[in-house]
C-alpha cells in the first residue's frame, strides 16, 4: 500500500516550504531562521527536545501566531499573513498538543463543524430549510459519521466528546481535522499520554489515513517509536534551529542529533 506514496514521490513536489522562518518573543528567539520543505503526500516528522520550538512552528503554519520574519509557502501561496480560518480553508488542518476538542458537543457535532466549513449556503436557505440546505446537512452528517468510523470511534458519535476516554478524544481531534479534507495535516504530539499499545494502533491509523486520503502529514512527536515507524523524512530542531534532517536511519546515526536529542549515551531502536 505504500506504493501510493512512492508514486507521488516521483514528482518530488513540495506542498509546504518554510523560508527563513523566525519567531522572537521579547528576549527569546523561539525559532531562528528555519527553512525546510515537506514533500507532497509524505509523512514528515519534526522532532526536538522540549522548548526546541516545534509547537511554535506549528502555530505559525496554522496561523495562530504570526512569524517575526520569514515566509511560509503552501502550494505556492504565502500563508504567513493569513488568518487561521483562511488557512484552514486552504486545506491546512492541525491538532493540538493539549487537546482542544469541543467537550460539550457530541463527537459527531465536533466533526460536523469542520465538515461544514466546506459546504456553503446562505442564511435564508438555512432559515427556510430549503432542499439544498437539507441535502447538504445530510451529506455533512454522513461524511462526519464515515470519518468517525475511519478513526475507529464510530460507536461514540452521539456521546458528549468530553466524556470519551482520553485516547478516543485524541482520535476525535484527528477525525475533526480529516473532515476539513486537508491537503496538509499537522499533528502536534498525537501520541502524548498514550500507552505503547495505543501508540502502535494510532500509528497504524495515521498511516492508513495517508494511504486512503493521500493527505500530507507533518508529525510533531516525542514518542520515538511512532516517529521512526511512520515518518519517511525527519527534521530535528534544537533551540530554535535545525540541527539535522534525513530518513529515520540517517537520523538514528547522526551524531549531532544523538548528542542533542536522543542522548549521547544510547541509540534508539
Amino acid at each position: 500500500m505504500l506504493c501510493n506514496w512512492k508514486a507521488m514521490c516521483v514528482n518530488r513536489e513540495n506542498i509546504l516550504a518554510l523560508r527563513g522562518l523566525t519567531m522572537k518573543y521579547k528576549s527569546v528567539v523561539a525559532v531562528d531562521n528555519l527553512s525546510f520543505a515537506v514533500e507532497k503526500g509524505s509523512i514528515c516528522g519534526l522532532i526536538g527536545t522540549n522548548g526546541a520550538g516545534k509547537s511554535t512552528v506549528v502555530n505559525m503554519i496554522s496561523g495562530s501566531s504570526k512569524p517575526t520574519s520569514g515566509e511560509i509557502i503552501f502550494k505556492g501561496a504565502r500563508l504567513d499573513k493569513l488568518s487561521p480560518d483562511r488557512i484552514a480553508g486552504l486545506g491546512v488542518a492541525r491538532t493540538f498538543q493539549n487537546l482542544r476538542i469541543f467537550g460539550k458537543l457530541s463527537a459527531l457535532d465536533n466533526v460536523r463543524i469542520a465538515a461544514q466549513a466546506r459546504h456553503s449556503y446562505n442564511f435564508a436557505q438555512m432559515a427556510l430549510g430549503t432542499p439544498h440546505y437539507r441535502s447538504q446537512e445530510r451529506a455533512i452528517t454522513e461524511s462526519a459519521q464515515r470519518i468517525l468510523h475511519r478513526m475507529g470511534i464510530g460507536h461514540y458519535a452521539e456521546a458528549e466528546a468530553g466524556s470519551l476516554p482520553y485516547g478516543h478524544q485524541r482520535r476525535l481531534e484527528i477525525a475533526r481535522c480529516l473532515a476539513l479534507e486537508p491537503e496538509l495535516l499537522l499533528l502536534d504530539e498525537p501520541a502524548a499520554g498514550m500507552n505503547p499499545n495505543e501508540s502502535v494502533s494510532l500509528a497504524r491509523d495515521i498511516r492508513r489515513v495517508r494511504e486512503e486520503t493521500g493527505t500530507t502529514i507533518l508529525l510533531i512527536e516525542h514518542d520515538m517509536s511512532v516517529v521512526m515507524s511512520l515518518c519517511e523524512y525527519i527534521y530535528v530542531m534544537d533551540f530554535g534551529i535545525l540541527i539535522g534532517e534525513g530518513d529515520p536511519d540517517t537520523i538514528r546515526r547522526d551524531p549531532e542529533v544523538i548528542r542533542a536529542y536522543l542522548g549521547a549515551e544510547r541509540e534508539y531502536a
Binding site: S62, G63, S64, S83, P84, D85, A88, G89, A93, R94, F96, R100, I101, F102, G103, K104, L105, D109, N110, R112, I113, A114, Q116, A117, R118, M126, E137, R176, L180
Partner: protein, 298 residues
C-alpha cells in the same frame, strides 16, 4: 392564595422578559467574554422604534417587526464600530467600552426625545382579563398570555437553533474554544454577528413586551432592567443558555414576591433584595446555577 397566584403570574411575566434579555447577555458573553452593558439599552431603542412606527400609522405587528429590525441594526453597528476593533484588547477594555456605549445611547435618545416619560398605549384588547378560577378572583390579562406565548416560543426557537443548526453548533464551539473553532474553518465574525442578531432581536421583543405591560418608558429605562437581566444571567450561570432563561424567570418571580410579601416599608427595596439573591447564589455557586464548573479559554 389568590393574591399569591396573582403575584406569581406577575412574577413569571416579568421573569420571562428578563429571560429574553439575559439570553442576549449570555450568548455574547459565551463567545467573546464580553459583558455588554449596552445590551439593556437596546430594549429602550426597541420601545422608541415601535412607538414611532405606531405613531406613523403602522399596525402593531408591523411596528414590532420594524422595531426588531431597527434594534438589530443598532446591535450590529455597535458590534462593528465599538467592539470588533477591540476584539484583542482584553476584557477590561471592551467592558469599559460597553458602559460608554450604554451612556452614549441613553444620551443620544435623551437629546432626540427629551427625558419625558411617555406612555406606550396598546389597544384595549391587551388589558382585557380572563378569569382563571378561584371564585373569579384569579385573573390573567391577554397581555400576560401574549408575553408567555411569545417568550416561550422564542426561547424554544432559539434553543433549537443553537442545538441543531450549523451556526448554532459553531456558536457553541466558539464559546468553548474560539481558537480551535477558527482552525476548524469557523468564521468567528459570522458567529459574533449571529450572536448579536439573536441577542438584539430578543432584547427588542423584550422591550416592546415590557413597555406594553408597564406602559411608561423613557431613555434611561433600559439600564436598570439590563442590570437585573445581567444579574439573572449570572445567577443562571453566564454563558449558559438554559441558565439565562431559568435565571431570568427566577429573578422576576422573586422580585415580585419580594415586592408583595416583604413587610411594610421593606417592599420598596425589592431591587436591593434582588441583588442580595445574586450575592447569596454566588456565595454558594460561584459559577451560577447552570454554569460550567471550569471554563477553559485560550
Amino acid at each position: 392564595m389568590d393574591f399569591f397566584a396573582g403575584s406569581l403570574i406577575s412574577g413569571l411575566q416579568l421573569g420571562s422578559i428578563y429571560a429574553l434579555i439575559a439570553i442576549g447577555y449570555s450568548i455574547v458573553y459565551g463567545i467573546l467574554r464580553l459583558i455588554n452593558f449596552a445590551h439593556g439599552d437596546l430594549l429602550m431603542v426597541a420601545t422608541y422604534g415601535a412607538w414611532i412606527l405606531i405613531a406613523r400609522g403602522l399596525s402593531l405587528p408591523f411596528a414590532v417587526i420594524g422595531s426588531v429590525l431597527i434594534t438589530v441594526a443598532f446591535g450590529l453597528v455597535i458590534e462593528r464600530a465599538a467592539y470588533r476593533p477591540l476584539r484583542d484588547a482584553g476584557e477590561e477594555a471592551t467592558l469599559i467600552t460597553s458602559l460608554a456605549v450604554s451612556i452614549f445611547l441613553q444620551n443620544l435618545f435623551l437629546m432626540v426625545f427629551t427625558p419625558k416619560n411617555r406612555a406606550f398605549a396598546l389597544p384595549g384588547f391587551f388589558s382585557e382579563k380572563l378569569v382563571l378560577g378561584g371564585a373569579g378572583s384569579i385573573t390573567i390579562t391577554n397581555m400576560s398570555i401574549v408575553i408567555f406565548v411569545v417568550t416561550g416560543g422564542l426561547i424554544a426557537a432559539v434553543s433549537l437553533i443553537i442545538k441543531k443548526t450549523r451556526l448554532g453548533i459553531a456558536m457553541r464551539a466558539c464559546a468553548e474554544n474560539s481558537t480551535a473553532a477558527k482552525l476548524m474553518g469557523v468564521n468567528l465574525n459570522a458567529v459574533v454577528v449571529f450572536a448579536f442578531v439573536v441577542g438584539s432581536a430578543l432584547a427588542a421583543v423584550a422591550g416592546v413586551l415590557y413597555s406594553g405591560q408597564y406602559v411608561s418608558f423613557n431613555p434611561s429605562m433600559g439600564f436598570m432592567i439590563g442590570i437585573k437581566a445581567f444579574a439573572a444571567a449570572v445567577i443562571g450561570g453566564i454563558g449558559s443558555f438554559a441558565g439565562a432563561a431559568a435565571g431570568g424567570v427566577l429573578l422576576g418571580v422573586l422580585e415580585i414576591l419580594f415586592a408583595c410579601y416583604l413587610p411594610e416599608g421593606a417592599g420598596v427595596y425589592q431591587t436591593a433584595f434582588v441583588f442580595l439573591v445574586l450575592i447569596v447564589v454566588l456565595l454558594f455557586k460561584p459559577n451560577g446555577l447552570f454554569g460550567a464548573a471550569e471554563g477553559r479559554r485560550s
